[in-house]
Each structure stands twice: as structure tokens, then as C-alpha cells.
Amino acid sequence: MSAALTAISSAGPAPLRFPHRHLLGIEGLSAGEITFLLDLADSYVQQNREADKKSTILRGRTIINLFFENSTRTRTSFELAGKRLGGDVINMSVSTSSIKKGETLIDTAMTLNAMHPDVLVVRHPDSGAVALLSQKVNCSVINGGDGSHEHPTQALLDALTIRRRRGKLDGLLVAICGDILHSRVARSNIQLMQIMGARVRLIAPPTLLPACAERLGAEVFHDMRKGLAGCDIVMMLRLQTERMQGSFVPSIREYFRFFGLDYEKLSVAKPDALIMHPGPMNRGVEIDSEVADDIDRSVIREQVEMGVAVRMAVLDALTRDRGQRNAPPGK
């Protein structure tokens, strides 16, 4: 295989700028574009560890965090990312009250658009809602999680965490375990990991797997001991409380027994396999507390740190070369 071909099939050359207006999902991104974002994020990891964490890249820019669903972690992470880059960040939690007043998603989008934000970070409980909103606004839109569809910044921060630990993504064997059916994190990661040359396994009971899961390019397992064998990375997913009591799995104790990550099940993975979780964790449901807190294996807290850096990189990438339109006149 020629060197050029190798370069394309693996990480690929990183472009000089990010060519998309929005970040709605991992689907449609190239290996080069992902690498570009990860490289940029790497530089922000360093900035975030300095005493002075602030830069001025987003000075004068307005970022609105528009959250139609409760979130503390993702919203805080985006807020911090925007502020560290010197932008003005506003948080809007659209609770059900506005919906009760009859305001539709599109009304909300139009209203906010009239305020000339530069970036909208949107989380919404319905798949596709963020893409719909992006069609109605002039600014960049970042998908902060839409229904069971995508959560691209989570996949990027997972990739960054892995890359910093392992030096690469190419060739790794990644297991994604748990509630794949409802997980936007899983959908984004399945795509990102494969674009970057990793192999993906999905491990879950059939009731927590979507139809045709194998058509996503991943190998499907219903047995943790088989699925985890030889894995480099073990990604656990959160199981929502309301799905634990008979609707999708019969009970917490049964779920933990067969699908919860403990040392015994982990023993079949590679000895240095990394343990990841997008948070917030249900200790004793999908993950054993000891495993979660194992400083040699668990990178769960590192994921949170990488989250801020990745979101800074995305904000930076989407606003570069797009400033003139919204810049104050005469400046």
C-alpha cells in the first residue's frame, strides 16, 4: 500500500480550517476534519492547565446555550469553553413552560436568531430537532445532543481522551456497552471510532439495541465476557432510571449482574484497557464503584477535562473566518 493511500485511510491530512458551518453530528465528517478538531483541542488542554486560562479569540462573540433538556455537565462545559475563549455566553433553559405557552421550536429559533448570536449550542430531547433548528438560523449551530441521534462533542472528547492516552485511534478495539438503543453518545461514537480506523463492538441485551445495529458497521454481542475479550477501550453508557424497572430490563440487580462492568468481566479485556463513561454514572447499575474509581484504568474524570478543551476547539473552528458579518462596524 502506498504512503498516500495509508494517509487517507488512517487519520488523513488535517485541513487548515473547518469547512462546515454547523456541527450537527459526526456523520459527514472526514478523518481529516476530526483530526483537525482534535489537534486544536489538544492545544486548549494546555491552555486550560495554565493559571491564566483565558484568551480573546471569541471576544465580541455571543454564544447561546439553548437547552430544551436538563443538563448540568454539558451546559457547564460549553459555558466554560465559551468564556475561556473570551466570548459572551448566555444560558437559556427552555423548560416545558414555553412549550405550554405554544411556542414551537422554530419560533424559539427565529426569536433567538433576531438577537444575532454567533453560535447556538442546542440540546433537545427529539432526534433531528437540532438539525431542524439549524435550518432556520443564520448563525452556527452545535448539536449538544439531540434525542437518540447524535452528541458529537461527546464523541470528540472521548476520542481526544483516547488519543492522548494511546497516541492514536487507528486499530484500537472499542467496546460500547449498555443502552445503545436510546444513546446519542453511542451513535456518535460508533461513527467517529470507525472513521478514525478503530473497530467497534456493541454489547447490550437485545432490548437495548436498535434494529439492524450490525448495519452500523459494529459487531454486536449480548454477552459482556465475549464482547469485552481483547478490547482496548470499554465505554459504558448510562441507563436511565425509568428504563431499569421492567420496561427494557427487568431489574437493576439483574442488569448489573449481566451487563454491569466489574473487575471480573473486565478481566477479559486487554490488561491496560481504558474505562470510559459519559456521565453521570449510576454506580452499581452499569458500573461497579471500584472500577469507576480505579485510577489506573478509569479515565472518566479526564473525559470531563477533555470536554472543555474539545468544546473550545469546536467554538473556535466554527467561528474562524466567520466574524466579519457580526463584527461591530468600524472595527
Binding site: 414551537t104 422554530i106 427529539d126 432526534s127 433531528g128 441521534h149 434494529a211 445495529a213 452500523l216
Partner: protein
Amino acid sequence: MATRLDAGGANGHARVAYVNARLIDPASGLDAAGGVLTEGETIADLGPGLFRSGVPPGVERVDCKGMCLAPGIVDMRVQLREPGEEHKETIATGGAAAVAGGVTSMVCLPNTEPVIDDVAVVEFIARRAREVKRAKVYAYAAATRGLKGRDITEMGLLTEAGAVGFTDGVRAIADAGVMRRALSYATTFGALIVQHPEEPALAGGAMNEGEVATRLGLGGIPPAAEAIIVGRDLRLVELTGGRYHVAHVSTAETVELVRRAKARGLAVTCDTAPPYFALNEIAVGDYRSFAKLSPPLRGEEDRQAVVAGLVDGTIDAIASDHAPQDQDSKRLPFVQAEFGGIGLETLLALSLELYHNRKLGLIDVMRRLTDAPARILGLKAGRLMKGAAADLVLFDPDRPWVVEERAIRSKSKNTPFERRPVQGMALRTVIDGRTVFQA
């Protein structure tokens, strides 16, 4: 048995000669050059040799220029939204859409507000249709009171009032016991039970279950949700001897179940709608809510099976399944958007795709749009016959056009076929001898 709900407009005994036509009458197998003479509201004469010696004096002459003259389309499944949701469609706007699509008779579902589960509502629809004077409007009455799936309606009285069949509209009659009772009781009046075949417990999703739904993170409705109800109902038909019709068949398995039931001689019929033979789940694309239909658009194998069912006659009829939804119901995240697409104005052209794609002969396409649904419903319609109502459509089977929102007459614009190039257009629509539409 069915009573037409609107009396139509009397126009005395005016006589019109349709000359130079290609006559297509699926009921008699006629496909030949010829003419039709209408007198007042009825067909006075027709045939290849008619007007050979010229049009008699005092008769209006319409030159068909070699275009197809067929019985007007009988659309056995539409939602007109009146009464109750007149912001989406009315009998007037739906009627205008119908005649522009060559539809001369249509049957509306009972899912209005109030529900058509009472003689008074059937009579209201009839009166409105008389006032509007567009396509003839017939009504299905609810199979269960309030469409609640529990207590059967006054099927005898409703049949007398003009209801042509009983259905719970866009809801399945889900309870097996209720379905059994409905089928059984309906035999007293020879009434037809029309099922929306979808097991509700499996139909919580927003689109067809499969790879596309998985990628989009949308809940799926498995094809089995349809087959489960049809399979169950066929057993109940055997048990009760009821007359049963499956609406909008969308899966390979349903086609096969109906095929086998017909082979066993059961009194079973079914229809499908253009989306199920002209589109598949790919049309959902990037969350296009106009492609959110009930039943959902299926996979390509199912679509091909529906075409095969139309070809071998397992699927008797094609209906528009016209389901108008306004902007507010569709400009929403896919999960929240309402189900349904309009179809009255595209029914003819999309059905003719089967002819242009060499799946069905022209006369066979027209049979599924005219004579077949009329027979299922017991309507005196869908035939070119001396003494029959002069309900006609003159159409060009080849004329190309593009489905465009701005040209839609329906009050709601939610077509899943936006920007699709099609062939075949109604040029003139005649109801009871009166021209109600001209392209």
C-alpha cells in the same frame, strides 16, 4: 345499498357528446376509440361506433383529441378534516383538490371532531357535500363509539343514513374481542369493516423500524405490527363470516397474508396508497416530516412486494390516503410531527407510474382506481355504462409535470412527493354530466 350523500346539481337534460376519445372502462374491459353521450346526469350512450355519423344537433360537442376518457376515480380513503379541523382541509378545498386529480367520488374517514359515529354527523357531511358541489362525498362511520375501540356503533342506522363502511380511521380496532363483535354484527347489514392494520403496542415509533431509523435515532415501527393485526383479523373473518378490508397495505407479509386468504376464498379485499409503491423509507432522509406517514414508509423489499401485489391483483384498489396536515403539525421535530400526507391531486399520476414502468396495463391501473373500489364499497360508480351517473375523467396518461407545493389546491401542502416529476394529468373532470374541472 350505499346512499350517495350529496344529490348533485341538476342540469336539466343538457346533452354533451365526448368525441374522439380513447374509452377506458375496466369493468367491461373496453379500451377503444369512441365517444360518450351524456344526458343530464347520466350516460345515455357510449361505444366505439358512437357519433360515426356526426354529433346530432343541439348536443354540446367536446373533442377529446384522442385522450383517455374513463370513469371518474373513486378514492376510497381520504380525510377531509371537516367538521373540526377546517384549518387543515374542508369539504370544499378537499373537493377542489379531488376534481383536479380526476377524483369524482371519495370516501372520508370518521376521525373528525365530532367523530362520525352518529347519524347526525353522517347527515351533516352529506349536506355540506351538497352545498359544495364538488366531488361526491361518502363517509365511513366509526366502528366503535368515539373511535375509542370499545363499544360498537349503530351500524344499522348508520348504514341507512348512508355510511358505506365502518372503521376506526387512523386507529386500529385493536381489541380482538371488539373486532370480532364488529365483524360479526356487521354481517347483519352486509356492512364492510375497514381496518387500519397496526398493532398499537408495537407502533410507538415514528418511522419504519430498520437501519434508517437506527441511524436517525428514531423509534421504529416494525413491519410485523401490520401483519400481526391482519393475521389475527383474517382468523376473525373466518370465525364470523364478516366482510373485511385492509387499508393501505405496506408490507410484504401483509400482501402474502391477503393473497393466501383470497386463495382460501375469504371475503377479504385490500388497498394501498401511492407512497407504499412509489416511495420507501429513504424518503425520510434528513428527518423530512412530510415523509412521516401512517403506516410508515417501508423498506425497498416491502415496496417491491406491494407492487407485486398490485400486479397479481392481491391488492384490489389504490386510494390516495389523503391526510392533510397544516404547517404547525408538520414543522416540528420528526417525533412530534403528525402522521400523514396529502394525495388527492397526485393519485392518478403516481398510479400511472405503474403503467409507465410497465408493471400494469393502463386499463388495470384504472381498474384499481375506479371499478375495484366501487365494487368493494357497493357504490354505483366507477363504470362507463348506459344509465350510470356521468362521472368521467378525461386525462392525458403521458403529460409530464412536477409536483410543486405552490400548485396544490388542497388547503394543506404536506405532500411527500414534492418536486417529483410525474406523468399523467386530468384534463377534465365531469360529475353528473357537469364539468367541474378543466386543466
